[in-house]
Symmetry: C2
Amino acid sequence: MANFQDIMMSAAINILSAFGFLVAFGLLRLQPFNDRVYFPKWYLKGMRGSPTSSGATVRKFVNLDAKTYFKFLNWMPAALRMPEPELIDHAGLDSAAYIRIYVLGLKIFVPITALALGVLVPVNYMSNTLERSREVVFSDIDKLSISNIPSGSPKFFAHLVMSYVFTFWTCFVLYHEYKTVAAKRLQFLASEKRRPDQFTVLVRNVPPDPDESVSEHIEHFFCVNHPGHYLTHQVVYNANKLAQVVDKKKSTKNWLVYYQNKFERNPKTKPTTKTGFLGLWGDRVNAIDYYNDTIKKLVEEMHNNVDFMQEKQEREKVISDPDAIMPAAFVSFKTRWGAAVCAQTQQSSNPTIWLTEWAPEPRDIYWNNLAIPYVELNVRKLLMGVAFFFLTFFFMIPIAFVQSLANIEGIQKALPFLKPLLQISSVKSVVQGFLPGIALKIFLAILPMILMLMSKIEGLTSLSHLDRRSAAKYHLFILINVFLGSIVTGTALQQLEKLMNEPSTEFTKTVGRSIPMKGTFFITYVMVDGWSGIAAEILRLVPLILFHLKNTFLVKTEQDREQATDPGSLNFATNEPRTQLYFLLGLVYSVVTPILLPFILIFFAFAYVVYRHQIINVYDQKYESGAAFWPQVHLRVIIGLIIAQVLLMGLFSTLGVAKSTFILIPQPILTIWFHRVCKGRFESAFLKFPLQEAMVKDTVERATEPNLNLLNYLKDAYVHPVFKGGQMQNHEVDVDEEESSPLVVTKRTSQMGSKHESDAGPEIRS
Amino acid sequence: MANFQDIMMSAAINILSAFGFLVAFGLLRLQPFNDRVYFPKWYLKGMRGSPTSSGATVRKFVNLDAKTYFKFLNWMPAALRMPEPELIDHAGLDSAAYIRIYVLGLKIFVPITALALGVLVPVNYMSNTLERSREVVFSDIDKLSISNIPSGSPKFFAHLVMSYVFTFWTCFVLYHEYKTVAAKRLQFLASEKRRPDQFTVLVRNVPPDPDESVSEHIEHFFCVNHPGHYLTHQVVYNANKLAQVVDKKKSTKNWLVYYQNKFERNPKTKPTTKTGFLGLWGDRVNAIDYYNDTIKKLVEEMHNNVDFMQEKQEREKVISDPDAIMPAAFVSFKTRWGAAVCAQTQQSSNPTIWLTEWAPEPRDIYWNNLAIPYVELNVRKLLMGVAFFFLTFFFMIPIAFVQSLANIEGIQKALPFLKPLLQISSVKSVVQGFLPGIALKIFLAILPMILMLMSKIEGLTSLSHLDRRSAAKYHLFILINVFLGSIVTGTALQQLEKLMNEPSTEFTKTVGRSIPMKGTFFITYVMVDGWSGIAAEILRLVPLILFHLKNTFLVKTEQDREQATDPGSLNFATNEPRTQLYFLLGLVYSVVTPILLPFILIFFAFAYVVYRHQIINVYDQKYESGAAFWPQVHLRVIIGLIIAQVLLMGLFSTLGVAKSTFILIPQPILTIWFHRVCKGRFESAFLKFPLQEAMVKDTVERATEPNLNLLNYLKDAYVHPVFKGGQMQNHEVDVDEEESSPLVVTKRTSQMGSKHESDAGPEIRS
């Protein structure tokens, strides 16, 4: 257990490192050559020109204006200055609502911190159990915690009352935030410009018909069942093969540009490459010629593919071809009312066919999953559920296995040429200290990607939904392995065993009892992971390095430079569950060790400023879901609240005031009830589009634009981006031109890993 | 523990008593004066005349045809003869689907019994652990059970495999039954005649509007948001006061008729009564005059009330009056499509106002609950949830208290005049043996009524829904207090304590271990509760006695006799959960003590025949929900299956083959998954009306009846029955005439206890 000095020391170190990151950021962001890394949002908006295009040569790269350096922290007030409506306009509701998660944290914890420090800390401090019981090692922090109160003391009454007060306040804030976000979402949807997804419904599991093609079948079905409302539809083509080719061409082109640049700089030696995998083996050839040839071949293949698809499309009018046409379509309606009706109703008596749901906006679609049959979808969900269970509880087994292999001897055997290096004792000790942790570190780093992959296998159809699902999985993982894993020492598997073989009350007691002891650990955790993590986020070290690498080796034109910029995005799937851990810690420790709360407050305040800055200046969201994630955020805070309440019950039953535990029983019941009320009251705003709103928008539009040609507007909105790109430039062979065309989009949309690139929607923005 | 002889003896007694009931039924049903008790359904259908109206006087009352007595069991083949489509036509889909519950039982358990008796019983019998271990008392039954196999024997493999086979077979049958019932429901809905509920949506929580009345507000809202579809609406009037008056009048009239009959038989003495409560005290007056006066007063009050309502209705057009108009309405549409759209979509951005759902059919509506605000509804649900928890786990406390009071001494004190009687030793011993049980017996008898009352407080809006909710509660109660309570001796409260303070695996083990020991107990239970219970059901002793009492004292005209007939109904809320207990027992014991299975098979077969007979000849359902309860039946069998699987795991872990328990873990997971697949596949058929079906029906109707005046058809369909009755006979004062008018309906509809009367819908049938 750390004492107060240790904590202060740790705080100092972390504050210093965070401060270091901030200083580095303050300096780097002023350099014009980093401008595209720190202000990409403004470039994308076309509101900031490239600094390299004008002015003196040196000034293009280095900021020589000394005065600006003194104000290296002035991005903070700037970040706070933009009012919320403007922020929604600038970055979308998703981003603005994401910021509100930190506001929620502040709103919940500022009053709780004040109360806890004002009431509970004095109560705790004035008892002196810990000083009297000499046999227990205790820290200064513990003197301020509930551990300092003697067993069975009536002072615990203060904690009971505070627990209810904190629960009430948290629910109060949650209710009002839910209400506000729901209102903002409805307002956002109502004030939005005309968008294709307002009129469109995604129809999946179209049943096969022996006499009609998929397209005809869809048209007839909706003409009959939505007469007067149906407008048009777009079947989904299976463009996965084409997307692969486009993908390959993109990477080949990067290599070509790389060698061309190399050749330009050093025209004497012709650059060569090997034809094999990654250029590591195979025949040595002229690199430029080789890549030029490859690209030509790929372009040909691509066009063949596109021709093939078009041919299919022609043929499709006669008979449906299962290879090319997926049994899914985007059906558009004449009015928003018609689309709202179709999305919310059941079409056929068999609820596994003609499934309708709101179409995600075009750039939000995850095309690969649009045509999964009902039973397969269920099997996938089952398998992923089982896989996630094993991932959560058994992930330590393979890691321990890798760790047992990855020792000095193993490396010496596998890579004998490293042997001399490894025998230097200092290197040896570093490797020995470093190796055991590295497998775990790597696993934790790629965990979000694994979870995203699992969500994709589950068959979700939109990127926003994928993000939300991955976030839910990550949240569970953190809850079990980070939170419970830190409190009860041992792997999740061991905990599971304990939970099975101990009385359920015993488990709560064990966890509850260890909570006060882990207070100092979590204070350090908040500083290391929270404070420094946020400070690192604003520095954007990885994009900074990548940008300069690309800039050096690949960039030739201004357009290329635009390509090289990676503005990044919020990455909800990773950031939100991590933030939820701080909510959980705050709620759990609010009664037990209130001294933890200020650290969490600082985290929320700091994160608020940093993310606000990033959203304004950096991130470019790859989709806009209209804050569809808020019900999940709400739910997870509720889960945290219930965990805190249950653990407090466990703790109280060990404090000699077991009877008072009964006073705490209504708390979780009321909290669950509160959640249900909120769900019924607000959730539908995030799931359904009310007919009244649809009718209002329709009426307004009919009055203002009576001659609108909606059919024309919707015609190409939901064509698979690859196919659309292919069609558009079917007869152009200008390779450079393609770079900025939607073809590029394709590759990214179809790739969409955990690190999404974000310029995926030029066809929407234009 | 009972041995084989005991079981055979018990079986013999139960078979004899069941046989006795059947003989009694066979004799009584042949007597013409009981005709209305045993064949009321045919009277209601108008297909059977009163036997008293023609023929010789003696023959009117007693059947003298000796031949018929020899065929006293020939109702059984007659009950089985009616084919299912005809049965649906005759009694409705609810009844036909209810019968299928027993068919489901037979389909599941016939093959399982065959397999279990053919494979597991020989395996069990050929081991002889129990004979060798002399210290344990064992019965012959136990020799056939899993207890007979030595600990750690490889023979348990047979039980493991059989457990999977039984699970697979149960799921297979469940899937196909769900599919069949869903198809039948859709076919039923599709083939149905035009009914008001097909066009009508129940709208609740209409928000108040300062400028418009409720009626105007509704009309404007739906004209705007469902243009071209909205037809008309009927606001809900608050007729609770009127219903009370009508209620009182009905009972007063019964007394009047009673005294009139008395006077007619004995014209010398004028019957007198006292004016106080139940005629027990107050001034002695002439009974006929007194009741005539009272009725006149009540009729006046009723008419005042009706006038008042009409006045309100007039005024309502100007401004809405919260006392008279409830913020709910039945909104009708021009097409089924329009109604289907409105019922399935969200109307307003606030999901707690303008709530739409399919209107129940008029006689299915529970009028009292139509206007409960959102928050109140949630508070009620919370309170009822807590109340149900206490009812389930703490019901023994008040009963034990009553039992402690209700002893011989207590009675002697309270009712001193019984003292001499109680001092006779034989009476004393009977009372002493009888009293302690009586409080529990009474509680169990009124439990379904308590649960129905709780469901009503929860605020459900239709009788069918109330029945389903009460059934769910009763099922839980039986599960915890009858099933678990019999296996683990002790009250539910003690079990709950154990569950909290023991490891969760330990609890399963405890229960699992006691299962084989309780086999003989449950065999007896099946015979006493199942066999004899069903045989008693067909005898209809209570309606038989009530009918003859009413017939003697109240009946004057043929119409009165019709009134006195109580055909009863299926009473889903009580019968279905009881049946589910047999599913559970069958599934739990299929692997453990297979010898229980034949007893359960006999129950299902017997119940099938009896209920089929009752449905054809007796019951008159008070509503038709189109088998809306099937998803619940399915769910509960699944719950039984999972309980059986978990308990088997508990049992196996105590049998020295703990490792093989892991083989059983996937079973409940796969079962839950199977349930989810079924739910997704079929449940919506019970919740939503697909647009395609609606459109087909609309199109057919438009073609066949182009001149239909739908407005006229729907005008009075959803008027509160009391109010409608009142209006109809506003200026008639003929008291007798009212008896057959819908006014009578009122009282019953508004009363609807657990014992529903069933002629609640003349205005629908006509």
